[in-house]
Symmetry: C2
Subunit: 259 residues, 2 copies
């Protein structure tokens, strides 16, 4: 059915700035729209394969801008979420989605368990193993890592424009998300806590998998993709958000004033 | 200081019965007292290196007995916990303990962060990556895995005999632990929930890391090691506990009766 079974290629995470010593570990699960040859075109048009259904446009550029400004390591996935969405566990429907918004994904229809396991082993397992190794190395080195996942969302969803520009999403530990929200007030961005998605939509898998077991501060950022549609816009957004992250982390680390 | 830096050997998990299709995934983090050459003798006598401070005597034999009876996969660590305790995160004092009960571990005193990171990369990271890959493969295959970690404890602790024979320990999700406790009544063993340790002692790292993010049923078992001190005793204990695990899992899966 696909070549994946014949050629069990695996797709390691891409790690940039591995030597960086900032506490921030930036993660971009939806950085790429690449569909490796083994999976053909999944039955989609070229236009669909370049649209937000396949990746988070602007998220990698913004992440790189943040990584430079924060002196932070960046870990990103090299394969489109249409093959495997690294922010979903293998038993979640969105891991190898049959449908996303109005797009049907013909190449994902009725996958057998063998193909599901093959994609999991090829994309999800190496990505999270590499991210885990990087996080754990930093814990052992005493760097006290902080996990920030960077996403983008589409300005119009099922025909309805979205007003929120900057979504800040948390799972069980809300401390860093609340601090980021508090420090975002001066940015002029329309901010929303747990918008346009929340943990109830199963979008916080990476936070649950990589941060919570180690008690690491963590947050998921969602930027409306029309605001990071060019390299210049990505850089401008990184200029706005890097100080927000720095101040938010500092506010967590500062003991509350007495009285 | 040690050869670990010069020879970055890594120690993958040992996986037995990988083809088994039972829901149970048995894990034995403290299966081995082996100290690889790179770490010498850690300044310990031969007697100390074979004592419970180095491993959980009987736990691997019992795990193998359970794996055969349950038709289950078994994943165990090939290195002594004195080098790295795979049931501890790298920033926990017990990960590379300087002291355990009355034993000082000279080779673990004042480790620099570089050596801590080297041991983490050599032992902890590959063990948990291999265990994760096995669990995730089973989730993708639709096998609905259930995590059971198997440990043993010493009958005398700081000079005081322990009465409990079979400890059943849980983290945030207590459902399987409570079911195992309920099904243990007929075994004749002195059982204790969250004895002789509990999650508050940081002993549930593997459960937190490997089961909770995927919502898998999970439990940690602790058997007093004088009850599994010979191969025959290990087999006899496996005979007693395998049906307990089977019934406990079945009771979780059965909807409660109406009325």
């Amino acid at each position: 059915m696909t070549l994946a079974e014949a050629a069990p290629e695996t797709f390691p995470a891409v790690i940039e700035n591995a030597g960086a010593e900032s506490r921030f570990v930036l993660v971009c699960e939806h950085a790429s729209h690449r569909i490796p040859e083994a999976w053909g075109d999944l039955g989609l048009s070229r236009q669909q394969r370049l649209a937000h259904v396949a990746w988070d446009p602007g998220a990698l550029g913004l992440s790189r801008g943040l990584a430079r400004r924060l002196g932070a390591v960046l870990v990103h996935a090299p394969v489109s979420r249409l093959v495997y969405d690294c922010n979903r566990a293998p038993d979640q429907p969105g891991a190898m989605a049959e449908q996303s918004e109005m797009h049907e994904i013909p190449g994902n229809r009725g996958l057998c368990t063998k193909e599901r396991a093959a994609r999991t082993a090829a994309v999800y397992t190496p990505f999270h193993a590499d991210l885990r190794a990087e996080i754990v190395r930093r814990i052992a080195l005493g760097l006290a890592p902080v996990l920030v996942t960077v996403h983008s969302f589409t300005p119009i969803w099922h025909g309805v424009p979205r007003e929120v520009e900057f979504g800040i999403i948390h799972d069980r530990d809300a401390s860093l998300a609340r601090a980021v929200l508090a420090e975002s007030r001066g940015t002029g961005l329309v901010c929303g806590l747990n918008e346009p998605y929340s943990a109830a939509d199963d979008v916080t898998h990476t936070l649950r998998l990589q941060a919570l077991p180690y008690g690491l501060a963590n947050v998921m950022l969602e930027i409306r993709n029309d605001l990071i549609a060019t390299p210049e816009a990505e850089e401008a957004m990184a200029d706005r958000l890097a100080p927000v992250l720095e101040r938010a982390l500092a506010s967590l680390s500062t003991p509350a004033m007495a009285g």
